[in-house]
Symmetry: C2
Subunit: 252 residues, 2 copies
């Protein structure tokens, strides 16, 4: 079992670079934090490169790990890698999957068009997981997926769902050709009240940017655009709440 | 128009105290930030005590305010009162309503049992507003309502909904006596699938703590406890997302 006590150690410097999108992209790995996410990673058979923990955590841990996977560090090093205020004492370096999951055009999908808030992106993916959706498509301009706040809100759901990336303008016609109805979401009543659309086995729901909604180019490509009626005086719904209402509506 | 340029000014010191729950309680006022919330406060005829802005904001503002309401401050003072990273240049001191709104036992209500995260509380209240609910009850142990993060997530919905406070254990039997069905929410399948319960004109939905859910004492008092089925591998839903699904379900 390796032990690192100096903040100036090369490995510590490399790990700290994973706190930025650029660093993650270059290294092809990302950091997860805490017991829950680590257990989810193990369960999902994710490729875990290093498990970094304090001595105290190691003593108390019930994790089934080989000693050669573990690197013990000082509480200071752990705190510098963790992004929560009271870290649990463990972070891990996990490989970003290199291959794209196969898209079989079955089941339910969500498409994210420039959703910016990490908490919203994570919560939407967690909701899609709960609602039994098959996968999520991250369009260009959506927040970096391996951001610590996204990971915290997802609570491991990225290990359960197929995550695709790409240009939604290319993807939508493809989904339609394969018989999947694609529904955009709009904030105005020019769109169709979601309650009038029946649940179907396969569906793709597009969610948009917090301020601007789904972009016009995307709305022009969908089968239908839906809105959630506002009965009170609020101007709009939070995008993650809107996602929850729509995703569970299509479950039936 | 008053002008304050020194951080040591007594008023600045008093305003800064409003950033804590204790300070707000003692003074009976709270701070709102930004144009949107200020406009909502004006529209709702809230008692606005001071409107504090920078000179730059004053020059560009289209707000209809009497000059004697306005206090001009330096950008440093404004930044010290604002809680966002890039403040818009205006904050206001608003009176906390002294009287409790009348409860007419009509319409739809939400009850919050120890919901802790300010963003969740704010988002739930915004959703209740959007769904046309009549009011919200904050049980003891829920987060302080005039917290800046709650205010930011509510986006002014506390000006639209009746906000009640009190002991939910006293309130629930009262609601039931007045013919309002009270539904708790549970994370386990011992409860009833929400989809089997029909929407009704009047309803009260109880939402609980992020980690522990609705407390046992409360669950024992309700007419029925509901759960949202999980079809995938996520362990639970975010409480604000769960609220959105249930609140819109009861709209029908």
């Amino acid at each position: 079992m390796e032990k690192i006590l100096s903040m100036k150690n090369q490995k510590v410097k490399q790990w700290k670079k994973l706190q930025t999108a650029k660093g993650r992209k270059e290294a092809g790995v990302y950091l997860i934090e805490g017991t829950h996410l680590l257990k989810e990673a193990i369960k999902a058979e994710a490729q875990i490169q290093d498990v970094i923990m304090t001595e105290t955590f190691y003593q108390q841990s019930d994790l089934q790990l080989a000693d050669e996977q573990i690197i013990l560090v000082s509480p200071e090093i752990l705190a510098s890698l963790a992004q929560t205020e009271t870290p649990q004492g463990v972070v891990a370096v996990v490989r970003i999957p290199g291959t794209t999951p196969v898209l079989d055009y079955k089941g339910k999908y969500i498409l994210l068009d420039q959703v910016q808030d990490p908490g919203n992106v994570g919560t939407i993916i967690r909701t899609a997981d709960a609602a039994g959706y098959a996968g999520v498509f991250l369009g260009e301009g959506s927040v970096d997926f391996y951001n610590d706040k996204v990971l915290r809100s997802m609570q491991g759901s990225h290990f359960h769902l197929a995550v695709h990336r790409g240009d939604l303008q290319q993807l939508i016609p493809e989904l339609k050709r394969n018989g999947i109805p694609v529904y955009g979401t709009e904030l105005n009543e020019a769109a169709v009240d979601y309650r009038t659309v029946s649940p179907t086995e396969a569906v793709a729901v597009v969610l948009g940017n917090e301020g601007n909604g789904v972009s016009k180019e995307i709305l022009a490509l969908t089968d239908l655009n839906l809105y959630i009626p506002i009965f009170g005086e609020a101007e709009s719904l939070n995008v993650a709440v809107a996602a929850g209402i729509l995703l569970y509506h299509f479950v039936g």
